[in-house]
């Protein structure tokens, strides 16, 4: 009953309930699953834009300007700004909000900073759930900002309707990005800080890379536009939003559609990840519950067994149990 109550409050747009639910998702509280089930019928209406790029290219400033433009167009906006967790302390400094604080008093905007954490179930899963929450809350647009360095971050932006890759001139970013494999997922490319030297070089590098797929575009595929912007001066941002709209129309016209969960490929991937995360969680829970995990750690550290045997001893009985 309590859960239904929380779901209702989220759908009604109650900020505290939304904030709390996202915290529970992030902290891996198992009860949130029931709330997410209740919220599911209320999702599927928001347009999700993923923004990624190396640190310092201006993603947060860009998101801040996007929020301003979308608000002018009468749209409500949710922002999820993901920053890395320190691998040493487990803490994080979430500073994206600094660039967006002017929107904090606007009831039509909800901004949430998330840390990558790296807990089981993964960043992708918890961010997707947070997107569902903001969607159910009734936000028209959801902007997800990540540092595009890890597979997890790439997966996050890949699950957006429109994926935006931000680069700056003169960082050799084109090559760096090709290495990381994030260029393939871009629907729109932005060269930010385009008043700087090297913009034309970056532009032609990107163009070359995009035009290698000319055959795909000839068959009606989406050809990613490359835009020059100066986010700090709000130059080119309005045109950028227009391009997002154009991409949305393309998704509809090409039959791809806007509903994530009607795309079998996407659902297959999401479900596989959920199962994986859930299985790991359940198995580890049962192992730590019986103390078997701690005993295994002890035998390895004391040298009475090797980690490979310890892993066998932990996993094989579990698999056997589930087969019976």
């Amino acid at each position: 009953m309590v859960m239904n109550n929380l779901a209702e409050k989220v759908v009604a747009g109650d900020v505290r309930s939304v904030a709390r639910l996202i915290r529970d998702i992030d902290d891996g509280i198992t009860e949130v699953r029931e709330v997410l089930k209740d919220l599911y019928p209320h999702t599927g209406n928001a347009y999700v834009v993923g923004i990624t790029g190396s640190p310092g290219v201006g993603k947060s400033t860009l998101v801040d300007q996007m929020v301003a433009h979308l608000r002018k167009r009468g749209k409500s906006v949710g922002v999820l700004a993901v920053d890395p967790t320190s691998p040493f302390s487990g803490g994080a400094i979430l500073g994206d909000r600094v660039r967006m604080q002017r929107h904090s008093m606007d009831q039509g905007v909800f901004i949430r900073s998330l840390a990558t954490r790296g807990h089981f179930g993964g960043l992708t899963q918890s961010t997707r759930s947070a997107i569902d929450v903001l969607d159910a809350m009734g936000k028209d647009y959801i902007l997800v900002e990540t540092v595009g360095v890890g597979q997890d971050e790439v997966d996050v932006v890949k699950s957006a309707h429109t994926t935006v890759i931000v680069v700056v001139p003169g960082m050799g970013d084109d090559i760096q990005a090709i290495k990381a494999g994030i260029l393939e997922v871009g629907d729109i490319f932005l060269i930010n800080k385009s008043d700087r030297e090297g913009t034309d070089k970056t532009l032609s590098d990107l163009r070359l890379m995009i035009e290698m797929d000319q055959k795909k575009y000839d068959q009606g595929g989406w050809k990613p536009p490359i835009l020059k912007v100066e986010a700090v001066f709000d130059k080119g941002v309005a045109q950028f939003i227009d391009e997002i709209d154009r991409h949305a129309r393309y998704l509809v016209d090409s039959g791809k559609g806007l509903h994530f969960r009607s795309n079998p490929e996407r659902v297959r991937q999401e479900l596989a990840e959920m199962v994986k995360g859930r299985l790991i969680e359940e198995v580890l829970n049962s192992l730590t519950g019986t103390g078997a995990f701690d005993r295994a750690v002890e035998s390895v550290t004391q040298g009475s067994t090797d980690p490979y045997t310890a892993c066998d001893d932990l996993v094989l009985p579990t698999i056997k149990r589930s087969r019976e």
């Binding site: 900020v15 320190s86 487990g90 803490g91 979430l94 600094v98 604080q101 904090s104 730590t288």
Partner: protein, 134 residues
């Protein structure tokens, strides 16, 4: 794997004072202590701070003031939290605060004040003892 709630704190600079070196050092110390730290940047109104704290679902707000407006700004944050029904969020403060203001601020609901010279370890351990994930 049991899931442990992570402590989330907000470091905020209310008012017109533009010196945030101290706030940044505190933010860094909190991160190193394993907290998730949301930093709001400079020149925030109490309203903006409270709204951001609610959206971010933090357990504590650390206010920094070096310009003498703490007697107005710190209690304003506490009162707004109370109005929003969010007074379970702990408020503490730091900066250039005269000794004679300390008691008044505590009476206004600021849980602890850290004045210049307080070792970072002392601040972090106070937070660990007095702030738990809600």
């Amino acid at each position: 794997m049991e899931h442990k709630r992570r402590v989330r704190v907000m470091v905020a600079k209310p008012g017109l004072d533009g010196h945030d070196r101290g706030a940044r050092i505190i933010a860094r110390a909190y991160r190193d202590a394993g907290f998730e730290v949301v930093y709001t940047g400079l020149h925030q109104t109490p309203e903006e701070i409270v709204e951001a704290a609610i959206q971010e679902d933090v357990d504590m707000i650390g206010l920094s003031s070096l310009a003498g407006a703490h007697k107005y700004l710190f209690p304003a944050v506490v009162n707004l939290l109370r109005e929003r029904g969010a007074d379970d969020i702990v408020v503490c403060g730091g900066g250039i605060i005269p000794d004679e203001d300390l008691e008044k601020l505590k009476q206004a609901g600021i849980k602890q004040i850290f004045t210049p010279g307080t070792p970072l370890e002392e601040i972090v351990s106070w937070v660990k003892q007095n702030v738990s994930p809600r």
